[in-house]
Symmetry: D2
Subunit: 340 residues, 4 copies
């Protein structure tokens, strides 16, 4: 259910609608738009009576939303969601492409700084790095933990980059949230609903990676879990899915970008590093991602990929990153985008 307010509705009227919804035992989600505010209603205790809501002052109409995803949907919010980062010019979802780059894992202060310096110089606004790593084997390097978070905070201070890093579980979420500008939820956790709800109660933007075999609907429903808890700053990320194809580690599904843009107001990035798993395919697919209309890129960059503790084979060299930035800068205007 969606309450569309009149264009001239006052903040008091919007508040009154929200309070009325809460009194009925549901949860209101006010979504300000360019022309008017809409109030999404969620809650799983049955039907709400439409009649009374329509009588409240300032209400234009009440619409039944039949899709399983509601807050995620363009029906509820027509304008694109643009996420901004106070104190910086960086945005995700707006005209400027968001470029997230960095090593798979933070391995040392030296490594992090070496990579950060080069990607910042080449134009990235976001630094990615793993502190907690979900690894297939319990015997593989699992990340430096808080030590890595501290290093990334220093990277932010030194290079002005916003930090994107993964929270693996509700146990380390608070700590990650203390350091990160954007909290990443990894592909393996896309349907870890407890973690989705917990991150939905945080106030940082969330980068939600598509699961290995998630359909478009499942990806949107995972975002809905986060939003239903009140955190509306969700960034989706395509990172390849699992198919029979064996010339890449995963199969990058670029068609999901226009598919998401049709159904949802949320931005979507593309990660060609995980999406291909092969260094020589990262830059071509990064170009393709921008050309298809993605809101930005997430790429793994390492100054010494052959010595990387994880994902070396898919990390590009800093000089390849420079080339990539140059190429996408030329492509961006075709899709009415800008590389800042």
């Amino acid at each position: 259910m969606l309450v569309v307010m009149k264009a001239q509705a006052t903040p008091e009227q919007i508040n009154a609608v929200c309070e009325h919804i809460e009194k009925l035992g549901f949860r209101p989600h006010p979504m300000p738009g360019a022309q008017r505010t809409a109030v999404g209603i969620t809650g799983n205790q049955g039907q709400i009576d439409q009649g009374n809501l329509e009588e409240l002052s300032g209400v234009a109409e009440v619409i039944r939303v039949t899709k399983p995803y509601k807050l995620v949907s363009r029906d509820v919010k027509e304008e694109d969601t643009v996420i901004s980062f106070p104190g910086t010019n960086a945005t995700i979802g707006g005209r400027d492409l968001a470029i997230v780059a960095g090593p798979c894992s933070i391995e040392s202060r030296e490594q992090a700084f070496a990579v950060a310096e080069q990607i910042a110089a080449a134009g990235a606004q976001f630094f990615r790095g793993g502190a907690y790593k979900p690894r297939t084997s319990p015997y593989m390097f699992q990340g430096l933990g808080e030590q890595a978070l501290i290093i990334m905070a220093e990277v932010r201070d030194r290079f002005g980059l916003r930090i994107v890093t993964e929270a693996m579980d509700t146990e380390n979420l608070d700590l990650v949230a203390d350091y990160a500008d954007v909290i990443q939820i990894g592909a393996r956790n896309m349907q870890n609903y407890t973690l989705l709800k917990a991150v939905g109660r945080k106030r940082q933007p969330v980068l939600l990676k598509r699961g290995m075999s998630a359909t478009l609907d499942e990806l949107l429903m995972a975002a809905e879990y986060i939003m239903s808890e009140g955190n509306y700053q969700v960034i989706l990320c395509e990172r390849g899915v699992r198919t029979f194809i064996d010339h890449t580690r995963n199969t990058l599904d670029l068609s999901i970008v226009p598919a998401v843009h049709r159904l949802s107001h949320l931005p979507i990035l593309v990660d060609p590093s995980h999406g291909t798993g092969k260094r020589n395919k990262v830059v071509p697919l990064a170009r393709a991602a921008v050309a298809v209309g993605a809101d930005g890129l997430m790429v793994e960059v390492h100054d010494q990929p052959d010595k990387a503790l994880s994902d070396g084979a898919q990390s590009i060299y800093p000089e390849q990153f420079v080339q990539m930035m140059d190429e996408i800068t030329q492509i961006a205007p075709v899709v009415h985008r800008n590389v800042p």
Copy 2:
């Protein structure tokens, strides 16, 4: 690394080996076998020196295990793992097939008792029921929580059935562990490594469901996560994977049963309910699962499937369950099994 003890090694000698391993900063995993005990060694801080270990008294030989999974492997433990339930005759992994049945979700005491009575009468030893349900949408029925656990404890008391129920996260794990005989880890959480480690520190058997697009190696590695924390009672469960096939909800991969049995000593059940998603295919695939050599079955049974709050379309009627039990009882001897 694996330390194989001599057949006549004493408990003291085994202890001494374990202590030596701990002093080196690694973790010992003693695995008693029919002939001799082996001690698996895990830890991710690098190589261990083989020489000294071989000199300890009672040690027959030290073997380097090159597979990524170790404790899971038949190299470490040749005999099949058989899990028993004190105070009952029920086992999983032995000659008797383990039959787990019950509704998808516990909806009420009446529903649970109605189903439990019928499946117990038909020969099931385990009752399954969801208290906490991972649902694709945040607005769907999420389970009755502790109330459902209490109902299941009553089912155990009344019908003598062992209880299998899912822990969705580390938050509800302790509570689930207080009530459950077997803790289930769902398909969506197969690579929720934090949860795997947490359940690895519990002392109940764990039923680990294969993820939607998990390979055999990934399934075994997930089990390895649990075992590396000291819980060796792991039961695998095939429940269908995601493919292009559209005549069933998932594609049941029965070939994984002999594949697991070759590589691992762990038992594996088959869930034809999730594996097909269609009531009319559950019994045929249950027969096939027994014929292929599965250690047991996990099936959804509901007395009124059309009114089920979840998974109604794939739940069979109690009378179909009776038919299934009758048919698999005839097939079991062909694979040297028994329906108790």
Copy 3:
């Protein structure tokens, strides 16, 4: 469109209906059933007028068939299709399971006879062997051609086995049809519509293998192509599909067996050799195929699999075939079948 004749309709009345349909520019397909005959109507030149047909004498009713497959459907023919082989007791689709066995390729008279002797002794009624082999590489062994067909004719004379062999194209179809009792259409040719139509004009039974990524609907439509040309003796065969799974060469989809039986009157065999690609998994999956309700099996048997010119890794030894026959003989009665 389907014309259902009255139970007491005479052959003359059925003929009159067929002639009437032909006069309208369509094609009639009389399908005799246990109770009554139905006449399917195909042709792609638009709609047929229902009224006149209903007025013809002997007609009970005229039914619009809305499924894309018509002649394949149980709507058109309710009873299972049973294919018999004059001069033998062998059937496919009836109570007796049909067992097709033999080497992937015919390599020599000695090899063919050695295998044939053993499978005949163990109870197979059909001998399979490749004369023309569709190989991924143009530089691999492509089969002995007519020489192989001649050897198979000798196998038939000597051991009384019916011959199943593949026609790769319309060029070799006539020659194959001269020798074969059942003409096989391989997985790669499942949508080679020209070949399907050509074999539809032959009068031998056709064994149609499911394509690598064919859906159930596409498999049934491929059978419909054959039947629409007048050859109603079609046998379907599940042989594994392509998925992300890497512990077997293909993924055997046993759920298609009950799915076919619901929608179609045609028999369906299962080929666990191609379906797994691994010798150690053939017998377990063969047992499962019988348990799920398949109408028979198609397995590759070789007396010296390590020296086979093709598919050695998935060919079982003759002694494994004997064991398989023994095991399925025990399982068959559970599904109301018989191993002759």
Copy 4:
């Protein structure tokens, strides 16, 4: 096996090498390069003796090619294959992008001319149109046959467009070859080896579409079948593969473009119409295909897609085609390409 000739080798020396190879019972494939000619050797009757070949005059070295594909490989021919069309400036595989456009099926002279006029005006050099259509159902529109070929010949005369059309079988291949500039082999026939060999004996360029579930290796091997018969003008085409993804009809695998370019000298086009199956996704994916480095595009354009006899839902309007051409013209220079 590959014979690399010296840079200064004469045509007579090359001929002598070829004749020597033929005398040995193998087939020579001379491949002229920018610096020197290489002669590929194929034939499946066993090993060739390397020593004598190296002694022939003009021979630089003899290299053993271990990959299963030989003539397709960059090992045999380092330079990109560029296919030209005498009497036109059109090329496929060179600096100019090749744009193939037109309706799925030729439905009438009016329709073909209406579409051709608009795509020619917008810059396409190739006109595609189906005369023989492989359809899933035998009851669907199967194409106008020769009538369509005649219409396309008129399109060529009138608009100067080169004609690309599919040969479905060896029966209609000769007729198709009489009219077509490029003979298309459809996805369903990618492993119809008889047809591949037959088209390998034609002298027109062949457009080979990737099969529904073909791996990269299988695609290259299919091209090898064509080349092994002496036709070296093969153009590959990615058109989407079958996966679990349900928001598009097929999953377009753009990563295969750089993968093909690494291994093979053959050009590869991308078909975003079949690759997505949805009109609103064709132009975004066309942009992405150019950005990833494809040698051209193949798109379905229809002036009245809602009335199309086949594939209407994925055909774009002529005005969308104009927009697409405009956008890819801007992207092409980034990948050192040109839209002519």
